[in-house]
């Protein structure tokens, strides 16, 4: 677009500064992970690799990581199915109460986590009379993850219009064949983006998790919360956080690549 050189430089400068500020606290986390202080006190009195060694041997952390991945995968899978269905309904149909359905989908993420948390906790324990467990946690997470899938799928469906699907049907393809061969390939990258966001939301969620996870169900954020209270574990937690941020680049990069390819295909 037509912007003066100065404007470009200013915007580039702002972006650079903001990114630097975003990574500054992460730098602090990294320094904490190699600091000799057991209580993350600033400035670090000295440096050590002890915490990295310990983190590699922390059974609890890896079990929690496994639990988090499992819960996030299950919640995202449910959200993918429900979000796609809802997006197809709302983008391809006109009906009474459409706005309400939209609001219903948005509500779990728009209401503060603590409200969602105590509402679900109360519903599970008092209304249904069940013990909190893994599945209650997955249900809770899936509920607030639907919206991310829905929005991505909805935007893509709206942008692409119905021409291709109509053409497919005119050529004699059934509903399911059309979905499989036309709609889905088209949606794939949007679902990927939505699913990834859902995964991320679930993975780092702590407040709703506190209220809906059964005893013994320790996700990574819960493990971190418990271990943050133990001074000689706090630097180990910092190590885990650094590893997570670095490792997350891989799925993010893959998702980006897929989305980008698709976006080009769509805009053409």
């Amino acid at each position: 677009m037509q912007l003066g050189r100065v404007a470009r430089w200013v915007l580039g400068g702002i972006t650079t500064v903001v990114l630097a500020l975003i990574y500054l606290p992460l730098g602090v986390v990294f320094l904490n992970s190699i600091s000799t202080s057991e209580s993350l006190t600033w400035p670090p009195p000295g440096f050590t690799l002890e915490w990295w060694r310990r983190a590699m041997h922390s059974e609890g952390a890896f079990e929690a990581l496994g639990m988090s991945v499992m819960v996030a995968l299950a919640a995202s899978a449910i959200a993918l199915v429900l979000g796609t269905l809802a997006a197809m309904a709302l983008s391809r149909h006109r009906f009474f109460g459409k706005e309400s359905v939209n609001l219903l989908i948005v509500l779990p993420i728009a209401l503060p986590g603590i409200v969602t948390g105590i509402a679900l906790n109360n519903a599970f324990r008092t209304l249904m009379g069940v013990q909190l467990a893994v599945w209650t946690l997955i249900i809770a997470h899936a509920t607030f993850c639907i919206v991310t899938v829905y929005n991505n799928a909805f935007a893509r469906l709206n942008a692409s219009g119905t021409r291709l699907e109509e053409a497919s049907m005119d050529l004699g393809a059934g509903l399911f064949t059309t979905f499989r061969l036309v709609t889905f390939p088209h949606l794939k990258s949007a679902l990927m983006a939505g699913g990834l966001l859902a995964f991320a939301l679930s993975f780092d969620e702590i407040i709703v998790t506190t209220f809906t996870a059964g005893t013994g169900v320790t996700t990574l954020p819960l493990w971190i919360l418990q271990n943050m209270f133990r001074p000689n574990q706090a630097p180990v937690v910092a190590v885990i956080a650094v590893i997570l941020a670095v490792v997350s680049v891989v799925p993010l990069a893959i998702a980006q690549r897929l989305t980008a390819k698709d976006a080009e295909a769509v805009s053409r």
């Binding site: 702002i14 606290p25 309904a89 989908i105 503060p112 209304l127 935007a155 059934g174 991320a200 919360l225």
Partner: protein
């Protein structure tokens, strides 16, 4: 084949197809969420038995009246609203230029790198980042060290610390929808505006901003609602600051008074519903 038969049967029946699509998501959200919320609201009208600690089913407006009349709740609500609003505004001010640069100025390769750079910190655990901010804000932390030569001092633990930390935490959630919003503005449109004589600034305000308004509002919903319910950040960098989330949490967590907690949570629920109603027409709900 049955699939074919079902397909042939459904093809002309739009209503039925719609029902097929909607049933599962609406049932899920209805059964899991709406019922849970409704039950919580009803609980606000119940009371706790002081002797056994169990919730007693006995209609009373005591909790609601208490929340509405006592000064404590008014003060904390206003403080929480102020913090949430400030966080939202700060995030939008920072996010708009960054998102614009990412979507419209950066070259594709750079753009991908920026998106990844923006999203990666989301994975570094909320709690760990808040503790990092605690270190930054401390009396001998990095901020103090950086501003002391200029006669400044760190805001320390308190409302300012909470606002800074929350803005930091939610920034990626605000940048991403706005970035997507800018991305959806076709370059052709910008060129057309320029061809018609629109200067950069005018193109921005007259063409681009109206188009991305829903995206900005979508981002604001994240920042606003996430701030509204927070209680962990406040504990760690808030010094002695209490927010609505703190009051709700304390009543459930340590006082075991779910009815009062439910009554207090009516405040953020009300605020968010009003907010959603106000922005509904902008289409923001579809940009989250």
């Amino acid at each position: 084949m049955t699939a074919t038969r079902v397909s042939t049967y459904l093809a002309p029946r739009r209503r039925l197809r719609l029902a097929g699509l909607l049933t599962a998501p609406v049932l899920w959200l209805g059964l899991v969420y709406v019922v849970a919320l409704a039950a919580l609201l009803i609980t606000a009208f119940w009371t706790v038995d002081a002797f056994t600690g169990q919730v007693r089913v006995e209609w009373t407006t005591e909790n609601i009246v208490e929340v509405l009349t006592e000064a404590l709740y008014r003060t904390v609500t206003l403080r929480t609203l102020g913090i949430a609003a400030l966080v939202t505004v700060l995030d939008i001010i920072v996010a708009v230029p960054v998102a614009f640069f990412m979507a419209k100025i950066a070259r594709p390769r750079m753009r991908h790198l920026l998106v990844i750079a923006m999203l990666a910190p989301l994975w570094a655990s909320y709690l760990v980042k808040v503790y990092a901010w605690r270190a930054l804000l401390s009396g001998n932390g990095l901020i103090e060290w950086a501003v002391a030569p200029f006669g400044g001092e760190t805001p320390g633990y308190g409302i300012v610390g909470v606002v800074l930390t929350l803005s930091y935490l939610w920034l990626p959630y605000v940048v991403m929808p706005i970035y997507a919003g800018f991305d959806r503005v076709p370059d052709r449109l910008l060129e057309a505006s320029a061809d018609l004589g629109g200067r950069g600034w005018r193109t921005l305000t007259a063409v681009v901003l109206p188009m991305i308004r829903p995206a900005i509002i979508a981002g604001s919903i994240f920042a606003f609602s996430l701030s509204l319910g927070d209680y962990i950040t406040t504990t760690i960098v808030g010094g002695s600051t209490q927010m609505l989330g703190t009051l709700v949490y304390d009543n459930v967590g340590s006082a075991n008074n779910l009815p009062l907690a439910a009554a207090i949570s009516l405040i953020p629920i009300g605020i968010i519903l009003v907010y959603l109603a106000a922005v509904r027409r902008t289409g923001a709900l579809r940009s989250l």
